[in-house]
Structures are given as C-alpha cells and as structure tokens.
Amino acid sequence: MTATTPETDAGRQDGRAPVLSARGLVKTFGRVVGLDGVDFDLYPGEVLAIIGDNGAGKSTLIKAATGAIVPDAGEVRLDGEVVSFKRPQDAREAGIETVYQTLAVAPALDIAANMFLGREMRRSGPLGSVFRMLDHKGMRESAGKSMADLGIGTLQNMAQPVETLSGGQRQAVAVARAAAFATKLIVLDEPTAALGVKETNQVLQMIERVRDSGLPVILISHNMPNVFEVADRIHIQRLGRCAGIITPKTHTPSEAVAIMTGATTLQDTPGSVRG
C-alpha cells in the first residue's frame, strides 16, 4: 500500500466518486456464464486495465457497461446516476467512447471522414440543415487539431485514406476520434494487439495523454508489459468474476498472471491492496 500512486490512492481513499461503476453484473449466454456478479469501478483520472484469460469475461464486462450487450442483472452507474444502455449509441451519447479492436473505420475514406463518421460536421445555414452538406474544411481542421492534441504529428494530411496508414496510425485515428468525442471516459479494446514495438509505445503514450487530459481510460489487454506500464489499477477477471484488483506498484506481472490463471488468489499474494 505504501508505493501506490498518489492519484490512485487519492481516488480511492478520499472517497471520490467513481465515474463509471457497476454492481452485481450478471450475463449468461444459454448455459455459459459470461459474468457472475461482477463489481467494477473506474475513478477519475485513472487508467484502469482489465485483464483475464480468454473467456474470463473481460469483453463481456465492458460490453455490459457500454451498451453493446444488456446485462441480465446488476446496475451500471455513470457519475452516480443509474443508466441502462440498450445499444452502444446510448453509451456514446452519454459520453462513453469505445475504440473497438476492429477500430470501426472505413478504410477507403480519409482521416477526417473517419474521425467524424456518423457525426459529420455540416455547413452552416440552410446548406447544412436543408441540403445536409458536409463541412469538409471544418472537419479537416478539427481532425488535425485532435490528432495534434494527442501528439500525433506524423499524420499531417487529413485527406489521406485510412487504408494507406500503418496499423499504429490507424489505431491513432481511432483513439483520437474517441478522445475528441468522449466527455466521460474512453474504452480501448486490445489497442496494441496488432502493433509492432514502436507503434505500441506510441499508443501507450497516447493513452497517457488521454488520461492526463482528464479522461479516465479503461484498457482491455492481454499484454502484461503494456498493462503494467500504463495502468494505474488492474482489474483481474477470472471465470466470470473479479479475482481481484491490484496496482502495478504492489504486484508483479507474474503475480497478476498467477491470479488471472487461478494459480494463486489475491488473498494469498503479498501486497494485497484490496482487503
């Protein structure tokens, strides 16, 4: 407990309210139990990583919290208010942006078009309201600014089709889009899974920038080194339940893996920060 980051500790000890919290989430798929009564909290200004083996319920947890699936039981609160998202759009309208593993980009469209996909800026006056004309210039400028805010200086031409970008650059576009529109938090699903070493580091830096700009981040990842580099707290899912919440300061990656795989439990592991 001695070496936890001030931010995390402050978030937890002075009773600051979580941005997003869930209590007793249950989701079953026929006989398969996806979530078996999961509690979950995201505090302001933190990067919360969710780790777990395949089928441990990390994706289900996030989907249940962001409207991609509707939980069978349990409640989700956003800024203390109970919310029931029926579809991803509901969560998005409430200020939660998700960067999907597939990135949800249209490859042949350019960066600016993808940044504003589904939320296009329209021309002012009747050209926009009646003829629904796009404000190409406004979107390019705004897209360029969003990319610059995240320190992505290598992409200058917002008219470049996304399919001509590298994997990391595409990821950058998707993260910049989420950061530009989110007002509460952003969720990143395996953002580094398909990336090389250098690009992974760039994405991790972006995640830190997003957090430092005031948006809390939920990071779903398999990659233990990445998680320990960037997360403030780590929520471990195992067999549809939360097996514990640790921090990179109190636990080692191998301890995290041990809890994740059931080789040990949080109670048996020194440095427990939960109980």
């Binding site: 990135l103 490859p107 469209l109 996909l117 589904g118 296009e120 796009l134 089709p161 001509t164």
Partner: protein
C-alpha cells in the same frame, strides 16, 4: 502525403530510424509500379479516362467519321439510357450490392406510364410521375428484401428481375405502345437540341443533370458519406452509429427513382414503349460501373468513372462498327475490359502505406 521521393532515399520520414525488420521493410522505396498503384488508388477515374481518350484516337484514326460531332452526338444518344441506369447501379454497387433488376424496373415503369397515358387517358405529367413512382416502389421492394429479409442483393434482384419482367409482360400483354398514342410530354425526352453542331436530345441533358446532382450528393452530403461508409464496412458503420439498414433502403429506393426517370428517357429514345426495349441494360449498366473503376466490393469509386465507363461501351460499339469490324469483336473487347478493370481494382485495393 507520405509519398517518398526517389531522389532522397532514407529521408522520407522524419521519424527515428527503423528498429525492427518490418519497420525497415515499411520504409523501403516505392517501385514505379507501386507509384502507379498509389496514383490509381487516389484517382481511380484515371484508367477509364485513359481508355476513353485512347479509344477515341484509335477509332478516329481507323475511321475519321468517328471523331465528327455527328457521330459523337449519336453515341451520346445511344449511351444515355445505360448511363442513366448506371447511376442507380453505381449507388448500389458502392454499398457492396448489385442490381440485376435495373432494366426490368425501367421497362415496368415505362410500360405503366405509357399504357396508362395511351389507353387510360392519363395526362402526360401524371403519366411521367406514375412511371417514376413505379420505379421508386420497385426499388423500395428490392431495398426491403435486402434489409428486412437480409437476403444477398444478388439473389433479391435476380428474383425481382424475373418478377418485374413478367409483371411488365403480363401488364402490357407483350404489346408496344407507339409514340403517337402517348401525350407529347412522354416523348419529349427524345427531342433534339442543336448545340452548335452537337445534336443531342433533352434526354441526354437529363442524364447529365442526373450525374451532376447525384455526383454532388455523393461527395458533399452526409447521406453520400454514409453510403460509402456502409459499402466500406457495414459493421464499422453500425458501430459508429450509422443506421445501415436505413442507408441501404434509401439507396435502393433512390436507385428505383432513377430507373423511373430513365423509363421516361427510354420512351423518348426508342420512340415507343416496347417490352423488349432495354433487354441488355441490366448487364450493360454493371459493365459501365465496373469499367468506370467502381469496386464491386463496395465503398470505392465515383460517379464520374461510371460516366466514362458508359461512354467507353458506346465508343467501342460505334467505333468498331465504323471500322467495319464484326460486332462480336465489340462483345469480346468489352468482356476483356471488364476483366481488366476488375483486375486493376483488385490490385489498387492492396495499396499500403
């Protein structure tokens, strides 16, 4: 742009030196073929434009009559109907769909408006509107089958091709309606306008207008943008909050509306409403779209290419016939063009950073 300059190898990116083999591979210089690939990727209308210009020069060389305004006017009149249908076809192919029922819808719409005005005494403006309404409704039926029953567009329109064709024949009893029996407005689209030697019909003007309006809508409005997004990746479009089914339904419906307008142009062009008028139009409209560089896989292409594609088909028909070549050479060469166009599309879709 991240285009690399061959004069300064290794200086193309300001980023630190590559530290993995893959990154070094990514920083390799582009070969000439790759540069061509990138240019075609950015401007897919270049290849059909090139084909059009070269075929114009070759056909004029083979027979100087080809280059005359008179011949060019005739070609424009000939391609007008297919070019108009290809507008709707382009919209549908951009969503990664296909419409095999284009010609059938146009014929159905044409026969309804022709017979109602000739036999039913419907005034010209109303008859034209009925034709457009029939086309729109037929398009909407395609759209509903694609979105509600989630059937592949190929199957839906293969079915409605037969259904609409049979309906048209049953309704008309297989009989044509001659121009004289219809109000003047119905054949107004066949009226010649003389533009300083270029004799084109009002129907051709309407086709040009169609291209301008739909081309504008595709590039400048949210609807056009969403249409491209759906064609690119429907799942991504859904995730960003675009109502994919609504976009698809609107695309098929608007395509139907365009076919309804084309029915009017077709009456003027043929000088009659015949159930056999646009028999080849189904495949020719797809040919025009594909030669024009629009990808059959959706999300990629532009209306300008389709216009060039329709003109290329017209150039080959008239050009080869003026050159005194057997018509089967036209069929053969158009077939080759389609295969080449799709190969080029496959190639430029593989473009990478």
């Amino acid at each position: 742009m991240s285009t690399t300059s061959p004069a300064t190898p290794g200086a193309e990116t300001p980023a630190p030196p590559a530290n993995t083999a893959a990154e070094q591979f990514a920083k390799r210089r582009r070969s000439p073929a790759q540069r061509v690939q990138h240019v075609l990727h950015a401007y897919p209308a270049i290849s059909p434009l090139l084909v059009l210009v070269v075929s114009f020069l070759v056909f004029t060389y083979l027979n100087p009559n080809f280059g005359t305004l008179r011949t060019q006017s005739l070609i424009l009149q000939q391609v007008a109907v297919v070019a108009a249908l290809a507008v709707g076809q382009t919209l549908i192919i951009l969503t990664a769909g296909i419409d095999l029922s284009v010609g059938a819808i146009a014929i159905l719409a044409m026969l309804f408006s022709a017979k109602l005005s000739a036999d039913g005494g419907l005034p010209g403006p109303l008859a034209v509107l009925v034709g457009i309404a029939v086309g729109t409704a037929a398009g909407a039926i395609n759209g509903l089958l694609v979105t509600r029953l989630r059937l592949p567009p190929f199957i839906v329109t293969l079915g409605t091709l037969s259904v609409f064709t049979a309906m048209a024949l049953l309704y008309s009893g297989g009989q044509s309606v001659q121009a004289g029996a219809m109000p003047d407005l119905m054949v107004w689209t066949g009226e010649i306008v003389n533009l300083g030697g270029l004799r084109i019909t009002t129907g051709v003007f309407m086709v040009v207008l169609l291209y301008v309006v739909i081309g504008f809508v595709l590039k400048q409005t949210t609807w056009g943008r969403h249409l491209y997004a759906v064609g690119n990746d429907a799942e991504s479009a859904r995730l960003v909050g675009i109502s994919v089914n609504r976009v698809l339904l609107s695309v098929y419906t608007i395509a139907g509306l365009i076919y309804g307008i084309t029915a009017w142009i077709l009456i003027g062009r043929a000088g009659a409403a015949s159930p056999n008028a646009a028999a080849d139009a189904n495949l020719e409209s797809i040919t025009a779209v594909v030669i024009g560089g629009t990808s059959l896989f959706g999300g990629r292409g532009a209306l300008l290419g389709t216009l060039l594609g329709a003109l290329i088909v017209g150039y080959f028909r008239t050009g080869l016939s003026l050159a005194g070549v057997d018509d089967q050479w036209r069929v053969l060469s158009i077939g080759l063009l389609v295969i080449i166009a799709v190969s080029i599309d496959q190639w430029i879709r593989k473009v990478r950073a």
